[in-house]
């Protein structure tokens, strides 16, 4: 959902810089095998026994960027330099410079870098509106707490640590001038989604974002300046006129409506990725080569921006190597700024590798946060039927000091607010402000946590007021398949929240809640027991999901994969290896992950998938090498569906274009068409059993024989595909070896086997592959950006808890969840995501909170000692359970679920606390202090 303007990637540009992105494990050639292979004993009875990356992780190998020192890198000099950033812990005075006097001579840095240094050297942040400038210039008031002002580089560890310790928790390095206000800032964005449905759920909408458009506001004095209402005017005018009617109706509702208005507040949170932002980089002054090792969810963007940053400076850049390690982020490392500081630091290492790794205080002070939201909801309900009639919402979020993804987080929050419910009409407005807090970004949930939790708390209250069972009220209003969402789009596939509602309604935790409460409170005098429920459905994807996958078979049947996927903990590198099995009979034997160097499918992109016009898209799409975006950032929720689609299509095409021909060549050998002659063989009937291809009673063929034959005869033995999804798949027609076909991909190249004729060999000019220009392409229209969401995964959670009114402590006793995720690739990974997401949700509901400003993390004093993360004792570790709904068919695609699982537990806890003590909280976290305020 970002609105960045990006140029095409390096390979398509005029630069002479050689850029490669090599996963850390490959860069560590001295320490580990060159590429990842199936671990010994990995598979048993068709299942994997452990994670593909399990053994190095459990034995303490260097898998994270934070583990890397100069001596680990094969070509680097051993001498390791270390650096740290000086940041401002306040934003109420004029910054007049840095003094290093407190360090004395012994601790004086080897190099100091400030805004002036960078200005003189022409080193600038790429896209500073999105990431912020590197350093605050002297003579200015800081824009936000934690803003960097200087980088100190040391050639040894002992002096580095001494100097960093000297400047910790104090302002001794900073020279301050007069008191002053931080600069006034224009809000990052304000967006509005107006939908007025037809007479029935199925009828055509009168107005919707998808049909008509999304509304964006200008600003006046920091407030959204929406278009003037004009029912005869343009889209903005009409939308505001309809929104005005809707709001007026809520003020003066028809007979039979109950109108509820509630306000909710969510808190400012640190994602708390345990690997802090870090990196290690070496700029070889002799050769102009820069090698960056870091932890990131956006390797492609990082490499692109670093190349642009250095190329525009006075520093020569002949080659950029970028090596992302295995990492973890929950969004905290998606489009984060740290990799650019790492690269910049290396430029000032005097030829030494420079390590820039944040400690936890620095991580709290500077790394991306979760936005706090104020959410004001007005919901109209038919008293008799319980049906929701109309919804209005106004949300306001604090985006912190730098824009980052704030506008789109706000948009996603607004479009998720409807939760699992169908709303005949709605007006959803959201504004995201700039502030002096550390920057907020793309944390797990991406705004939906805040809006859906508010809605789910509200629905329980409405049910109570109407005298209805909360789950039954949800069932009445639940979104059914084919319904339109608040953007007017019909989500893909069958929506199954109702199944979960019915399961939960029949669960003993729910049906016996009154008896359990009585029994618990009798056994535990003074404690209050409560049960709460919530059900949400969460989108997955960004609306511009792009991926590249290459699959190649060697003559002996070895299957090698290259993939854009990188590992952020959720198991993508395990699951993607397995996805090939359906079409090729086995998982990939070896894999290169986190690949961004794609000579086998050289493409061009303007990388403006959200903002380009339809005319621009139509025009650019005439170039068969153009795609809207090369690849999208990594998130835990986008690998299962979007990457699996790309991997599946590559495997399918390799089978259909290559191996199937090889199979027929065996089966049709001999007089009269061979053993296949008397039969009619259909490709779609073929399947793999025990590594053999079987079809129609023909002799089973092992993959190795097919691969050998395909190579001998010069059939296709390798394919590279590119895929793109804007809430629907791009599809294109290709003609390969005279066969014309359509596939849900937008670019393709193929590699013929060793026996290929000279013509085919000559055509394989793209990294050993032959580009296959698409004959026709159908991209989802740019208007589909307004759909905002079409892929949903639902999740429901029941919580049992107790409240100690004296201490205010809330104890989660048990929770039970239901999840629908399509077909599971690795059930253990899905289960782990559920358990982990719920723990994070418990933290959000009960513990995690920081003040955003002067007393908050930007002042550099926050750490886990005062920021409570949930521990094992907090999550009902032995009692909890979860049910994953069976897929409807073997072809159900896997869904992205890593975000949705953390959401319902939050509202379920809020609703359970109400059941326990009779008070409805309108803000999270529900801390002991807030409990005690109401229990006295």
């Amino acid at each position: 959902m970002n609105h960045l303007s990006r140029r095409g990637f390096l390979k398509g540009g005029a630069t002479a810089v050689v850029v490669s992105v090599t996963p850390l494990h490959q860069a560590l050639a001295r320490l580990q095998t060159e590429r990842q292979t199936q671990p010994p004993g990995w598979r048993e009875n068709g299942n994997v026994r452990f994670r593909q990356d399990g053994i190095p992780k459990v034995t303490g190998d260097k898998v994270f960027a934070v583990d890397i020192r100069a001596k680990d890198m094969p070509d680097w000099p051993d001498g390791q330099a270390h650096a740290f950033l000086i940041r401002v812990p306040r934003a109420d005075r004029i910054f007049e410079g840095v003094t290093l006097d407190p360090l004395g001579e012994e601790m004086r840095p080897d190099t100091v870098v400030t805004a002036e240094t960078l200005r003189n050297d022409g080193v600038e942040m790429v896209e500073p509106d999105f990431y912020g400038a590197f350093f605050l210039e002297e003579g200015n008031v800081p824009a936000y707490l934690g803003q960097p002002v200087a980088l100190l580089v040391y050639h040894d560890y002992a002096r580095f640590r001494a100097a960093r310790t000297r400047f910790k928790f104090n302002e001794d390095a900073l020279i301050w001038g007069d008191a002053a206000e931080p600069p006034a800032r224009t809000p990052y964005g304000a967006t509005r989604y107006v939908r007025i449905g037809g007479e029935t759920r199925e009828a055509e909408d009168r107005f919707s974002p998808l049909r008509n458009g999304t509304i964006f506001a200008g600003f006046e004095n920091g407030e959204a300046d929406w278009p003037d209402a004009d029912s005869e005017g343009d889209v903005g005018g009409k939308a505001m006129a309809l929104a005005g009617e809707l709001r007026s109706e809520l003020e003066n509702p028809p007979e039979g409506w109950n109108v509820y208005r509630r306000k909710y507040r969510s808190q400012y949170v640190d994602p708390a990725a345990l690997e802090p932002d870090n990196g290690n980089a070496w700029y070889d002054t002799a050769t102009g080569r820069l090698h960056v090792v870091t932890g990131t969810q956006s390797p492609w963007i990082n490499a692109d921006h670093i190349e642009r940053m250095v190329s525009a400076s006075r520093f020569d850049l002949t080659e950029l190597r970028f090596s992302p390690g295995y990492t973890v982020g929950y969004g905290q490392k998606e489009h984060h700024v740290h990799p650019y500081y790492v690269a910049m630091a290396a430029l000032y290492g005097d030829g030494r590798p420079v390590r820039l790794a944040l400690d936890r205080w620095e991580q709290f002070q500077s790394a991306l946060k979760r936005h706090p939201f104020d959410t004001d909801i007005t919901l109209a309900v038919d008293r008799e039927t319980g049906e929701f009639r109309s919804l209005a919402a106004d949300q306001r979020a604090d985006g912190g000091g730098v824009m980052n993804f704030s506008p789109s987080v706000g948009q996603v929050s607004a479009t998720a607010l409807q939760s699992i419910y169908y709303l005949p009409k709605s007006d959803l407005a959201v504004q995201v402000d700039a502030s002096r807090a550390p920057t907020a970004g793309s944390m797990r949930g991406y705004g939906t946590l805040q809006s859906m939790v508010a809605m789910e708390l509200m629905v329980d209250e409405v049910a109570e007021d109407l005298g209805r069972d909360p789950i039954e009220l949800r069932r009445i209003n639940a979104f059914r398949s084919g319904n339109k969402n608040t953007q007017g789009a019909i989500p893909g596939g069958h929506l199954r929240a109702v199944e979960m509602l019915e399961a939960a309604a029949a669960d003993p935790i729910w049906t016996e809640r009154a008896e359990r409460k009585k029994a618990f409170e009798a056994e535990n005098p003074g404690y209050h027991y409560g049960v709460g429920f919530s059900c949400v459905q969460k989108d997955y994807g960004t609306g511009a999901e792009a991926a590249l996958v290459q699959l190649e078979l060697s003559p002996d049947g070895h299957l090698h994969m290259r993939h854009v996927a990188s590992e952020i903990g959720c198991g993508a590198t395990t699951s993607q290896m397995l996805v090939t099995e359906a079409h090729l009979g086995k998982p990939a034997d070896s894999v290169d992950f986190a690949v961004t160097d794609w000579p086998s499918l050289s493409l061009e992109a303007n990388n403006e998938p959200y903002t380009m016009s339809q005319d621009t898209q139509d025009s650019l799409a005439e170039n068969p090498r153009w795609v809207p975006r090369i690849t999208s950032p990594r998130s835990a929720s986008n690998s299962a569906y979007y990457f699996t689609h790309a991997t599946t299509e590559a495997a399918r095409l390799l089978f259909e274009l290559g191996l199937w021909k090889a199979a027929l060549s065996f089966w049709r050998e001999g007089i009269g068409g061979g053993q296949a002659g008397p039969l009619y063989v259909r490709r779609e009937e073929a399947e793999w059993r025990d590594g053999h291809l079987v079809a129609g009673g023909l002799n089973p063929l092992p993959l190795e024989d097919l691969a050998r034959r395909a190579h001998e005869r010069g059939y296709i033995t390798g394919v590279t595909v590119h895929t793109f999804n804007r809430w629907a798949w791009a599809r294109a027609e290709f003609e390969v070896e005279g066969e014309r076909f359509e596939a849900p991909i937008d670019a393709l190249s193929v590699r013929w086997g060793e026996g290929a004729d000279s013509g085919k060999r000559a055509a394989m000019t793209d990294g050993g592959y032959a580009f296959q220009p698409r004959q026709r392409v159908e991209y989802p229209p740019t208007q589909r950006n307004n759909a905002a969401v079409t892929y949903y995964a639902p999740c429901a959670t029941l919580v049992e808890l107790s409240v100690n009114p004296g201490s205010g402590e809330v104890k989660v006793l048990n929770h039970r969840s239901w999840l629908e995720c399509g077909r599971q690739i690795v059930p253990e990974l899905v289960s782990g995501q559920i358990q982990g997401g719920i723990a994070m949700g418990i933290g959000h509901a009960l513990y995690e909170e920081m003040p955003p400003y002067e007393d908050g993390p930007g002042n550099g004093t926050w750490n886990f000692s005062r920021y409570r993360l949930p521990r094992a004792e907090d999550v009902a570790v032995w009692a909890q359970s979860a049910t994953v709904l069976e897929p409807l068919s073997p072809t159900d695609p896997p869904k992205g679920i890593a975000e949705v699982v953390m959401i319902p537990v939050v509202a379920a806890i809020g609703n359970a606390v109400h059941h326990a003590i009779g008070h409805r909280f309108d803000r999270t976290p529900i801390t002991p202090e807030r409990i005690k305020e109401v229990t006295g």
């Binding site: 034995t59 303490g60 345990l274 570790v877």
Partner: protein, 186 residues
């Protein structure tokens, strides 16, 4: 600048060379920056999250210590096991066999990003070794495991698979529990 001191200690069965280091250096920094043993992870620097947990092999047996707040002045001359020292390795350092705890973590898909895994390996291994000399009733194992691993913070997994793996190792290992027919001598 901080005064320097010369330290050595036994890490994973091998005594280090004497090294001159700042006397306020923490064991975690010593492992990372002086021995290049980085499997023990920095999490908070204040002993709260236990990503840095290592095993101290002392007179009381195996005990977990947070390396990020354990000074080298105390660690000097003592013996520690880091995550790199649990599995068997060949002469090139390649893993040839993992411990039952590590195997259980693999079998249970216990970890995701794995940043905290070395701390859990240390805590679970120390618990197993403690139970070897001081077994507990089988029905208490879940509580014992929860208590032993509760100090370790994990942000990915929700803890369930770490704790289940540890419980299963303990219940499957003769001598660690009593009252389940598996205790020593039974």
């Amino acid at each position: 600048m901080t005064a320097m001191m010369t330290v050595f200690m036994t890490i994973n069965g091998t005594e280090t060379e004497p090294l001159e280091v700042p006397e306020d250096l923490m064991l975690l920094e010593f492992l990372h920056e002086y021995l290049n043993l980085t499997g023990t992870r920095y999490g908070c620097g204040q002993g709260v999250c236990r990503a840095c947990a290592v095993i101290h092999d002392g007179p009381m047996g195996a005990r977990v210590v947070p390396a990020c707040v354990t000074g080298v002045a105390w660690a000097h001359g003592r013996a520690f096991r880091t995550v790199e020292g649990h599995a068997d390795r060949d002469e090139e350092g390649n893993v040839t066999a993992v411990t039952p705890v590590q195997q259980a973590f693999l079998d249970h898909f216990s970890f995701q990003c794995s940043y905290c895994t070395p701390g859990f390996v240390a805590a679970a291994q120390a618990l197993v070794e403690r139970l070897e000399v001081d077994p507990v009733p089988a029905e208490d194992v879940e509580n014992v495991v929860l208590e032993a691993l509760n100090e370790n913070i994990c942000r990915c997994t929700g803890y369930v698979r770490y704790l289940e793996a540890t419980r299963d190792v303990i219940l499957a290992t003769p001598g660690l529990t009593i009252g389940d027919g598996r205790a020593e001598g039974s």
